[in-house]
């Protein structure tokens, strides 16, 4: 291979234009859709001005959306034989198979259910549980998100398929560490964290520190200390000329930024647990976009069955089902009844980490005023 050819890699080859990737029937109808109908909770029909109709079947996927090519090939097969040769992957890792009649859509549903994959996730249902990679790939995960997700999905499957009705859309996100790769805009966010200030391996931490105290005198701050948002990590020169590190516990917020940049910042894994944040949403429905709020700062995360997490999530969903009005997402419900009322219902102990707050103001483009 010539060097020039390899150097070409500096210019990314982008999958543009997107139309080249579309199944033919979709390409014909781009921008022409005029109406939609729902057929249960897992099939949606789009009607085009050209008279074409496309039925989409939404399929739930395993935690962290990982599929073997064996399984994916089976889906591709179904999309070819019963569908129009198109598959859409959603941002939340669900897989949607496109077809052109309700009969075929129902057959697709039957086929994927035979494979052990559920169909559902539109309307007032559990849309998806978004899981980060955690112990599958990640270097900073504190708890294992995919296994928590699997256990939650096993318990909440009837909410996905629509067998049990919810007041409105529900999204859950499980993140293995406070970086919260799933974001804070889902209704229930489960985020793994240390539950304590970090500790460190006294020998290996030296790999993240300058060798001699002289570097500190020159004004160099090692990244492990510099990255701390609250100044809870102090580095100092020792009398013998080496560098020491101290974690100032009262300042620490357990965010884990230090661990992102230094592998040898460590923690006591017996204290690891999850925080639960609720009420986040991105959509402009109801009260508009809302940031989620940490209501439970810590509960234990114990594999394999994660009973505490499942119980608390189920309890929150039950309360929401009993008390919310139709169409009210958890954040909207919370905004109406107030966080303090919610705390009372669940009898949650309050510490400085979960003081009830009231959100004032509106988010998203509502910040512009009337448009």
């Amino acid at each position: 291979m010539t060097a020039d050819k390899v150097a070409e890699r500096l210019k990314k080859k982008l999958p543009v234009p997107y139309t080249e990737w579309l199944p033919e029937k979709v390409r014909r109808n781009v921008g022409k859709w005029v109406d939609r109908k729902y057929h249960g909770y897992g099939i949606i029909e789009h009607i085009s001005a050209t008279g074409d109709r496309i039925f989409t079947v939404k399929v739930g996927t395993p935690p962290n959306f990982r599929l073997s090519t064996d399984t994916l090939k089976k889906f591709v097969d179904i999309a070819d034989t019963l569908g129009i040769g198109g598959i859409k992957i959603t941002r939340n890792g669900n897989l949607e198979i496109l077809t052109d009649s309700l009969d075929k859509a129902l057959k697709i549903k039957e086929e994927v259910e035979k494979m052990g994959f559920p169909v559902g996730g539109w309307g007032p249902t559990l849309w998806s549980i978004n899981s980060c990679t955690a112990f599958l790939t990640c270097t900073t995960a504190v708890v294992d998100a995919p296994s928590i997700t699997k256990v939650l999905y096993d318990h909440l499957k009837p909410y996905f398929t629509g067998e049990v009705k919810l007041p409105a859309k529900l999204r859950i996100n499980v993140s293995g560490c406070p970086s919260a790769c799933g974001g804070f805009t889902t209704d229930i966010n489960i985020v793994g964290h240390y539950g304590d200030a970090p500790t460190y391996d006294p020998e290996r931490i030296k790999l993240c520190l300058p060798k001699s105290a002289k570097a500190l005198e020159m004004g160099h701050v090692p990244e492990v200390a510099e990255v701390c948002p609250t100044g809870a990590i102090r580095v100092f020169g020792k009398p013998d000329g080496t560098v020491g590190l101290e974690v100032i516990r009262p300042k620490c917020i357990a965010c884990g930024r230090c661990r992102d940049v230094c592998d040898w910042i460590d923690f006591d894994q017996s204290k690891a647990g999850v925080a639960i944040l609720i009420g986040g949403k991105a959509s402009n429905t109801g009260r508009g976009p809302l940031p989620s709020i940490q209501v439970i700062p810590w509960i234990p995360a114990i594999p394999p069955d994660y009973r505490e997490i499942v119980a608390v999530v189920k309890k929150i969903i039950d309360l929401w089902r009993e008390n919310a009005r139709e169409g009210e997402r958890i954040g909207d419900w919370m905004a109406r009844v107030g966080l303090e009322q919610f705390y009372k219902m669940l009898n949650i102990p309050v510490t400085k980490w979960n003081k009830p707050v009231t959100l004032t103001g509106e988010f998203g483009f509502r910040q512009f005023g009337p448009i």
């Binding site: 890699r9 500096l10 982008l14 999958p15 543009v16 234009p17 579309l22 395993p62 990982r66 599929l67 090519t69 064996d70 591709v76 198109g86 859409k88 941002r91 890792g93 559920p118 990679t133 112990f135 270097t139 900073t140 708890v143 296994s147 699997k150 993140s175 406070p178 919260a180 790769c181 974001g183 804070f184 990255v227 917020i253 357990a254 884990g256 592998d263 959509s283 402009n284 009260r287 508009g288 976009p289 940490q294 439970i296 700062p297 810590w298 234990p300 394999p304 009973r307 505490e308 119980a311 309890k315 169409g327 669940l346 980490w353 979960n354 707050v357 959100l359 004032t360 483009f365 910040q367």
Partner: protein, 416 residues
């Protein structure tokens, strides 16, 4: 405080126990990730060991692929025994694939990878596990045969998300897919995406309507959300038909409008929507579509500085401008990124400061007025910093554990 390891943290030491644990996740009604992984050549022992040790086995690894500086993730286990390589692959706008293209990706995975595909990463990119020894060759195959490329990792332009937009949605108010294509091929963006020159990652998201399916409001440094001016458009005739057919209850529709902008004139059988009050919640539109549609005068609202991962906690996007097309905003994107990089050179912005952190440091007003040379058109709402975590002492930990076990009892009953 020093941690003493009871057992060495090696895959070998923990794998057997972990493989037992994994069996638990092959049962149950939901499709199992473990069963899927077991069908592939994925080194599942490392995952198993992590689960048993309750600590991730992975540490940062390294890989060298000539002239590729972003887009792959290399990992090795802490004991150095197993290594892994993931390719983040650019998805087409909308993530809509013809099976023909998907088959090519599957062929690619089987030829160079472990037979494992992660359909959507946290940003929507496709992730494919690759055998490290063939990675160099794999890049060319991906480029030449599949027609896409390794995506983005690190401090650069990351996967840009667009909702399905006009390809399969009636509500889409602008062509989000074309906008994403154009954004990615913008000369500056295109130049930046091959290297990691930024303080931290950069994301943009394109949502076609106020439902904001890509969550542009919170998860994008630049979020472009379709919106219309004034009131939704009501086809009174079609609406009356829906009312007569019993599909829509007009009184309920008006009562449930979150903006309080709707009144139903029962005598004239007319629905009135006050455009000055409408907050674009989409409530009436999704209830009575297509009799009620978004208004004709379509715009794009831009929110800036939203993010999750950043030094000072997550932020919601701040209001920047309402424009007619994404092109109008490209200069602002370029100016923002350049200024963000300049401020890093000056030492104001630190490594791992997102654009939201940068705006927080220089001040929103100053950012809009002086850096972009614009007038503010909106005022950001305040919220507490979005973060999770707590530093608890043993007493507090016991208190929450006791509370949780009470809830376990309530939900599952007392353990026998």
């Amino acid at each position: 405080m020093e941690v003493k390891q009871q057992r060495p943290l090696t895959v070998e030491e923990w794998a057997a126990e972990g493989m037992e644990l994994l069996k638990y996740y092959e049962k149950g009604p939901w499709p199992s990730h473990v069963s899927e992984l077991k069908k592939t050549k994925y080194p599942i022992e490392a995952y198993a060991a992590g689960l048993a040790a309750r600590k991730t086995m992975w540490a940062a690894g390294s890989a060298k692929i000539r002239y590729v500086y972003t887009g792959f993730i290399a990992r090795r286990t802490r004991d150095g025994k197993i290594s892994e390589l993931h390719f983040r692959v650019w998805q087409p706008s909308g993530y809509l694939y013809s099976t023909e293209k998907l088959k090519k990706l599957i062929e690619f995975t089987e030829k160079y990878g472990l037979g494992l595909i992660e359909l959507a990463g946290q940003q929507g990119q496709m992730i494919i596990s690759i055998r490290p020894e063939v990675a160099d060759e794999a890049v060319d195959y991906l480029r030449d045969v599949v027609g896409t490329d390794v995506g983005a990792t690190g401090d650069t332009i990351r996967e840009i998300a667009a909702c399905v937009g006009p390809a399969l949605c009636e509500y889409s108010l602008y062509d989000t897919l074309e906008a994403r294509d154009k954004f990615l091929t913008h000369p500056k963006i295109y130049e930046w995406m091959s290297n990691q020159l930024f303080p931290f990652k950069f994301k943009a998201k394109f949502s076609g309507c106020p439902f904001d399916c890509t969550r542009a409001v919170h998860r994008a440094d630049f979020g472009f959300i379709g919106v219309w001016e004034g009131a939704p458009e009501v086809d009174q005739e079609a609406f009356r038909r829906k009312v007569e057919a019993g599909e829509v209850d007009p009184e309920k529709l008006a009562a449930n409008c979150p903006s309080g902008a709707i009144t139903w004139d029962n005598e004239r059988k007319e629905l009135r929507i006050d455009g000055t009050r409408c907050k674009k919640s989409m409530h009436c539109i999704r209830t009575a579509f297509p009799a009620i549609k978004p208004g004709k005068n379509r715009k794009i609202a831009i929110v800036v500085g939203g993010h999750v991962k950043g030094r000072f906690g997550g932020k919601m996007g701040k209001p920047l401008a309402v424009v007619n097309s994404v092109d109008e905003a490209m200069d602002w994107v370029v100016k923002t990124v350049e200024s963000w990089m300049e401020h890093m050179e000056k030492g104001v912005v630190k490594h791992k400061d997102r654009i939201g952190d940068f705006i927080m440091k220089v001040g929103f007003k100053k950012y809009v007025n002086e850096i972009l040379g614009l007038k503010e058109v909106g005022k950001p709402s305040l919220h507490p910093s979005l973060r999770a975590g707590a530093v608890l002492d043993d007493e507090e930990r016991k208190m929450y554990a006791a509370w949780a076990s009470k809830i376990v009892e309530e939900v599952f009953g007392r353990r026998a």
